[in-house]
């Protein structure tokens, strides 16, 4: 298939997953601000922004509303939900002849209904709506797309973004040290609390919760299963297996991080959770870059200067 189309599908997957992940992280964090009256709002908000890969421009103290404006509805902010939704739609429009009508409608509708501001008593509802819309888009693709190359690129984008988003979610745990979101809240936010309780049958401990989100091969939102999913897609896209090791740079990176996670004692990771999560984010973006270099080559647009005669 055309590289341009494949790239669009890859990014539709990433953007849908990103809007979902961002909504979950914001939801947890903003609830926490409300629940904990001793927390320093400004520090917490700056920490949240930095976890999402951006920084506040002004020195003014930041509040909840600023965070919502920046990360939820600001269309120009590259980490915001509104931007992700618009970018997913834009990518779908460029691949209109490949993307199914239902998916197109779902993305188009979400984009059209995206509010410009969210009242502070409506934030939870808003985040829930974003999650619902992402689930709808993903469900539409899941239920009625042939498992061909197009689907693999979509799934690949999703898996990589999901690993990245879970890493960011975990990183919020250690942001404000003592007062970071509790493991219960984090597990709830990614819809894994019940699954976690069933797996561990006990009082949540930070170790088992981190283990669950990082290393549980059966829970689809854990980092390890996202990485495995991404590797599967890459294998499907190029099933040739040579005799010597792995030659695909993207698969190499994913394999390395997977081994690192699998074979490192969980206690080691918890010592510097933030550091490890940052490393993981670095790996996901390097992987994304490797995929781009291999499957979506773009020649630099040449500019021709006419002769002046």
């Amino acid at each position: 298939m055309l590289s341009r189309i494949a790239e669009s599908l890859f990014w539709i997957g990433r953007y849908i997953e990103r809007s979902d992940g961002t909504a979950r992280i914001l939801d947890v964090h903003l609830q926490l601000l409300l629940e904990d009256p001793w927390i320093d709002e400004d520090t917490a908000c700056r920490a949240l922004l930095s976890v999402m890969g951006s920084e506040a421009e002004s020195e003014e103290p930041l509040g909840r509303d600023d965070v919502i404006t920046l990360l939820a509805v600001d269309r120009k902010h590259p980490a915001s939900i509104a931007h992700s939704v618009a970018a997913a739609r834009e990518n779908a429009r460029r691949a209109r002849e490949i993307v199914s009508t239902e998916l197109w409608e779902a993305l188009n509708h979400t984009n059209a209904r995206m509010p410009h501001r969210v009242a502070s008593d409506k934030t939870h509802e808003f985040f829930r709506w974003v999650r619902d819309r992402s689930a709808l888009a993903i469900g539409v693709v899941d239920s009625a797309t042939s498992r061909d190359e197009a689907w693999q690129f979509f799934a690949l984008g999703r898996a990589i973004e999901r690993a990245d988003m879970t890493a960011r979610l975990l990183a919020t745990r250690s942001l404000t040290e003592a007062s970071g979101p509790s493991w219960t809240t984090i597990l709830r936010s990614c819809g894994g609390y019940e699954a976690y309780l069933r797996s561990y049958r006990g009082v949540p401990s930070s170790e088992s919760a981190a283990e669950f989100l990082l290393l549980d091969r059966l829970f689809p939102r854990s980092i390890i299963s996202s990485v495995i999913r991404a590797e599967e897609s890459l294998r499907e896209i190029d099933p040739r297996a040579g005799r010597v090791g792995v030659t695909d740079q993207a698969r190499r990176l994913l394999g390395q991080i997977r081994s690192e996670l699998e074979y490192r004692p969980i206690a080691d990771i918890l010592v510097d959770l933030t550091g490890h999560m940052e490393h993981l984010q670095g790996v996901t973006s390097a992987t994304s870059e490797a995929i781009r270099a291999r499957y979506f080559p773009t020649s630099v647009v040449p500019v021709w200067i006419g002769e002046v005669s």
Binding site: R4, T43, H83, R96, V301
Partner: protein, 620 residues
């Protein structure tokens, strides 16, 4: 029977005596002043007359909403409108059509010979049939195209020859479009939606199907592939989503089952053309391009074009890729060349022209210029390089100031204009606010040349001017369209449907096959794109070094690469209004200031190449 056609005849009579000196227009349904019905409409008329006006209006709304849902739309002043389709079809009898078909085919063969000659030995010039200056002064004559010949010699893979019926009901050729004629997608989708919405009209007639067009086109494209390639890769090259004919490009690519590519998907290397795919570069053998000549190859034409691929012309010259239609065909569209076409038919083919031209004055000839200047208020004056009504002045409708201005322009550039008498285009009953009223219409049949034979799609696109008395039929100027039915000559079932024989056999009696044949043609999965966003480049923050403590910033979010040259791309895409049926949206694309674009960090665009507001354009 009374209600639907009430006032039709009187409306015709009232109009007849009005300002124009020319005779009254030929009405395709009713012979002059009677309520009698012409032969082709004999079966359609009772079916229509059974309906009340409200019912017909309801069906028309259904047609429109079906188009809106499928995305068969065009932009009108920033608002998305369904492509206008009138519920009353135009019916052409088998014998009438045979003449038009023969004429169109003959014309394409002659133009094909003419183009081969112009970009080759130029015998016609040497023999004095056509002046050399005329060719070299044509806007669309490209020296770069000289010597480029496709493997089977075809230059006009697709042609759209605009026909009209004059006051006597005879076909005449109005203009030739052999560059990038568009509108065929509307023929296919009009038939499909008519069969769904007004099935009872089809019941008693044998209408020749139009669904085989994509097969014919694909065959013609494959046969023009460079020699020695067994299974050629065919692609459709589109300017992009902002082009008003984008719907047509997607439809054709889908129905032919080939890739729809943009210029940036292609690159040239080693004298061949390749497209970027996930499996690496794939060679492209035939490009059905819907991009204008000037934008195809920045090495040869406009250096600022972002829609083509540098090196295309070289690859074509080396014979490694076929560009369809060939570059430089525009010289045959020149309206001054048009006046020579009857001579060209006699010269190249040794035949008499089947279809006459509309009488035309060549303003380069001093006598003609003098006569035209004298009678400017009763003639139609057209620029030679425009198509479909662009820059056209209708003398009787023009104000004195306009005529004075026109006079100076004609004197300054007689080569740039031609003049014709006002031809009363034939009229067809069309549903307007007052009910069914006569409205002027023309016809664009489409011809496909596969090298052995010129095949003419039965029917073509009928365009109607909706305002009363108006003679310009473009959509951007309030034009509509009609489904065009060519009746089958042989009255027995089991007629030859050309392509798709299996389907035709399965549903033998003609009228039913019409619906079945088109039912699966255009799948309705094109949705209206409501509103656009300026494509935004997003800043990529360089990976921050790990800072101590709480303020360290995690990896920045990455973004999908966006079109760093979005504004220029969009602008050029919209410029490709080439020979489109309606130039839909060309005037309607009102640019609005879009959101500020934060472009300075875009991955491939160093240093904020466009910090200005790109325009948020209207969609296709």
């Amino acid at each position: 029977m009374a209600t639907l056609f009430d006032g039709y005849a009187t409306a015709g009579t009232n109009r007849a005596g009005r300002r124009r000196r020319a005779g009254r227009p030929w009405d395709e349904m009713f012979p002059d002043g009677t309520t009698d019905v012409r032969e082709p409409y004999r079966e359609l008329y009772p079916a229509l007359a059974r309906m009340s006006q409200d019912e017909l209006r309801g069906r028309t709304d259904a047609l429109a909403s079906s188009y809106l849902a499928q995305g068969v739309t065009f932009d009108f002043a920033g608002e998305e409108r369904p492509f206008p389709l009138d519920a009353v079809p135009r019916v052409i009898s088998a014998s009438d059509w045979a003449r038009a078909e023969a004429g169109v085919s003959q014309r394409v063969r002659a133009l094909e010979a003419f183009l081969a000659d112009v970009y080759g030995p130029q015998r016609a010039v040497a023999d004095g049939v056509i002046p050399a200056a005329l060719i070299s002064s044509s806007t669309h004559y490209h020296r770069q195209a000289a010597g480029i010949v496709s493997a089977n010699g075809v230059r006009i893979h697709v042609a759209g020859i605009d026909l009209i019926r004059d006051e006597q009901g005879d076909w005449r050729v109005l203009e030739d479009n052999v560059r990038v004629p568009s509108g065929v997608s509307y023929v296919i989708s009009n038939r499909r939606v008519m069969a769904q919405t007004l099935p009872e009209l089809f019941t008693s007639m044998r209408v020749r199907p139009v669904g085989e067009y994509p097969n014919r086109l694909l065959q013609a494209l494959r046969r023009s592939a460079p020699e020695g390639i067994e299974d050629p890769t065919v692609v459709v090259l589109t300017p992009g989503v902002h082009n008003s004919a984008y719907y047509e490009h997607t439809l054709l690519a889908r129905l032919m089952g080939v890739e729809l590519v943009e210029g940036r998907d292609l690159f040239c290397s080693g004298g061949r053309v390749w497209m970027h795919t996930t499996a690496g570069p794939t060679r492209v053998d035939v490009i059905y391009r819907r991009v204008d000549d000037e934008f195809l190859d920045p090495q040869q034409f406009r250096p600022d074009s972002v829609l083509g691929a540098p090196g295309l012309m070289l690859a074509a010259r080396l014979g490694h890729v076929t560009i369809a239609n060939a570059v430089g065909n525009g010289v045959a569209d020149d309206k001054l060349v048009y006046t020579y076409v009857p001579d060209l038919i006699r010269y190249y083919l040794g035949e008499e022209p089947v279809l006459p031209n509309v009488d035309t004055w060549r303003l380069e000839e001093p006598d003609a210029l003098a006569e035209v200047l004298d009678r400017l208020d009763e003639l139609v004056v057209k620029p030679v390089d425009g198509s479909g009504g662009k820059g056209l002045v209708i003398g009787p409708d023009a104000s004195k100031a306009e005529l004075d201005e026109l006079r100076t322009r004609l004197l300054a550039d007689p080569r740039g204009w031609i003049a014709q008498p006002v031809v009363q285009l034939s009229t067809i009953p069309t549903l307007v606010e007052d009910g069914l009223r006569p409205r002027h219409a023309d016809l664009r049949p489409f011809a496909v040349n596969d090298g052995d034979e010129v095949w003419v799609l039965p029917g073509g696109l009928t365009r109607v001017a909706l305002p009363e008395g108006r003679l310009v039929v473009n959509s951007s100027q309030g034009g509509g369209s009609k489904d065009t039915w060519v009746l089958e000559s042989r009255p027995l079932p089991g007629f030859d449907t050309g392509g798709l024989p299996v389907l035709a056999e399965a549903v033998a009696p003609g009228h039913r096959s019409a619906g079945a044949l088109v039912a699966d043609q255009a799948s309705p999965n094109t949705q209206p794109a409501t509103g656009l966003h300026g494509v935004q480049g997003t800043p990529i923050v360089p990976a921050a070094a790990s800072l101590p403590g709480e303020t360290r910033t995690a990896s920045p979010v990455t973004s999908s690469p966006q079109d760093e040259d979005a504004p220029i791309r969009q602008q050029q895409q919209q410029q490709q209004q080439q020979q489109s049926v309606g130039r839909v949206g060309s005037e309607a694309n009102v640019s609005r200031p879009g959101p500020e674009v934060n472009a300075d960090g875009s991955r491939y665009a160093p240093g904020g190449r466009y910090s200005t507001d790109p325009e948020e354009g209207a969609s296709c």
